[in-house]
């Protein structure tokens, strides 16, 4: 509770500080602290799920962002309360769960050598596919994440990331990630691991972007042994003013067998107006570790009174019928 009060106090200070500046604060853009190379922002997310006659109400994310740059160096810090409070209701019976530790979601330093070369050191979102680059509720198109973004590759990497980008004709990028240590904070990484090596190639011109990633990681298993997993992912995104089509398809294997034969999605988003958007996502996966194979159709609707505020509803229809669910969320970027 004390931490929450402290957090709200910091936010109120930011608003107070912003009111004194020439450029007034705009929601979703953060605020500059004095004349320091320091910007502060944050986001919150509340959600509701109805599945198998169970209602789940959750304060999911309360996060603080801090970033800035000085000469060739820039930094990013993201601290987060995740799954902060959850209330379950089934047949009139209520149970609740609170999780108050503050976690390090991202913490890294970037060094820009020049126009083309960049080096990153710290904990960051694995630069794999498109979805995992902007994974927070308020920025993604639906409340839920595609299954492929959860089971194929580690969401976070702690280590080194380097990239070469050329902007001559379109945008061509080749990059690599290297982790050879434990996670800085593994609590919410989807894999517990101490090794991750990956590379990617992407090309984009105007509305079209293409990306290919491949890598391997060493994940801890329940028996405390580790197992090497290899993955590959192709991703395609086409975006115009009124609509967007994005697709990712990948596979994961161990030395012996396919651990995920395939996992992917194809999503279309149509903006009826600046505020209203409809989403249709089709997903399919064959997870041979969890022994789950499913096809999913997701019908979503997002209302953004202004872009940094998202009110979303979605209904998921699964071939595994017990997975059918309704989701609703409210999220804000500060």
């Amino acid at each position: 509770m004390k931490i929450l009060v402290l957090f709200l106090f910091i936010i109120s200070l930011l608003f107070a500080d912003a009111s004194n500046k020439e450029n007034s604060y705009n929601l979703g853009e953060g605020v500059k602290v004095a004349d320091l190379p320091l910007y502060i922002g944050g986001y919150i997310s509340l959600d509701y799920r109805n599945k198998n006659s169970e209602n789940k109400y959750r304060i999911d994310d309360i996060a603080l962002l801090s970033y800035g740059d000085y000469k060739k160096v820039s930094y990013m810090a993201e601290l987060e309360f995740k799954q902060f409070y959850t209330l379950y209701e089934r047949d009139g019976n209520y149970t609740s769960k609170a999780h108050t530790p503050l976690h390090v979601e991202r913490l890294y330093l970037d060094y820009n050598f020049d126009e083309n070369y960049m080096l990153r050191l710290g904990k960051f979102n694995s630069q794999t596919g498109f979805w995992n680059l902007l994974p927070i509720n308020v920025l993604r198109d639906t409340t839920s994440n595609p299954v492929s973004t959860i089971i194929l590759f580690p969401k976070f990497t702690t280590g080194v990331y380097a990239s070469y980008t050329s902007y001559k004709e379109g945008e061509f990028k080749i990059d690599g990630m290297l982790q050879h240590t434990k996670d800085l904070d593994s609590t919410y990484n989807n894999y517990t691991m101490d090794e991750h090596y990956a590379m990617g190639v992407s090309y984009g011109q105007d509305s079209l972007q293409f990306k290919f990633n491949m890598g391997l990681f060493d994940s801890y298993q329940p028996n405390n042994l580790t197992a090497k997993r290899y993955y590959a992912l192709v991703a395609l995104k086409y975006e115009r003013e009124n609509y967007q089509i994005v697709s990712e398809l990948g596979s994961q294997t161990s030395k012996e067998r396919f651990t995920t034969a395939y996992a992917g999605y194809l999503q279309g988003l149509y903006r009826f107006t600046e505020q209203h958007a409809g989403i249709l996502r089709l997903e399919s996966y064959d997870d041979r570790v969890a022994q789950k194979k499913d096809n999913i159709a997701i019908f979503g609707y997002t209302y953004r009174p202004s872009y940094p505020v998202a009110i979303k509803a979605e209904y998921q229809v699964h071939t595994l019928k017990k997975e059918n669910q309704f989701l609703f969320s409210f999220s804000v970027l500060f």
């Binding site: 979703g28 853009e29 953060g30 910007y39 922002g41 986001y43 962002l65 970033y67 800035g68 740059d69 000469k71 060739k72 820039s74 930094y75 990013m76 820009n112 020049d114 126009e115 680059l133 902007l134 927070i136 920025l139 980008t165 902007y167 001559k168 004709e169 379109g170 945008e171 105007d206 509305s207 975006e239 003013e241 600046e274 872009y307 940094p308 970027l333």
Partner: protein, 136 residues
């Protein structure tokens, strides 16, 4: 009479053509850049041209020159750019700083080596370097 009418029409047309021609300008010391580089600089995907740190300058929002720049050069309209900058805030990038007028942009460019902005062609003078030209 017809002759004067033609002259009048041509004059109006020439004024219109001149008014809808724009340029991306930079400090005299800036090296030549491609359209792709201009897009990357104004979307803050890159902050350098070679090893020169670049300071991109916007005109204030809803300015007609800015609207033309965003549509013709960045290929994005206001609402899509708005959502783009929200996403960039999460990634730790800020939009270019905004200047009140083309005169402010020119004054800034003269003083700062890596400054880059866009103005109407008719407002270009010898103190700035033209990097790219477009028209509506």
């Amino acid at each position: 009479m017809q002759f004067f009418l033609k002259i009048l029409i041509l004059s109006v047309l020439s004024i219109h053509i001149e008014a809808s021609e724009y340029v991306v300008v930079a400090n005299k010391n800036m090296q030549a850049v491609s359209l792709g580089q201009i897009q990357a600089l104004f979307l803050k995907k890159s902050s350098y041209v070679g090893e020169t740190k670049v300071v991109p300058l916007n005109l204030s929002s809803r300015n007609l020159v800015r609207e033309s720049f965003e549509k013709k050069i960045l290929h994005m309209h206001f609402s899509r750019l708005k959502s783009y900058w929200m996403k960039q805030h999460y990634l730790g990038h800020r939009p270019p700083i905004s200047m009140k007028s083309e005169a402010s942009i020119k004054a800034f460019i003269e003083k700062v080596d890596g400054a880059i902005g866009y103005i109407k062609l008719k407002n270009v003078d010898k103190k700035t370097k033209i990097l790219y030209k477009w028209s509506d």
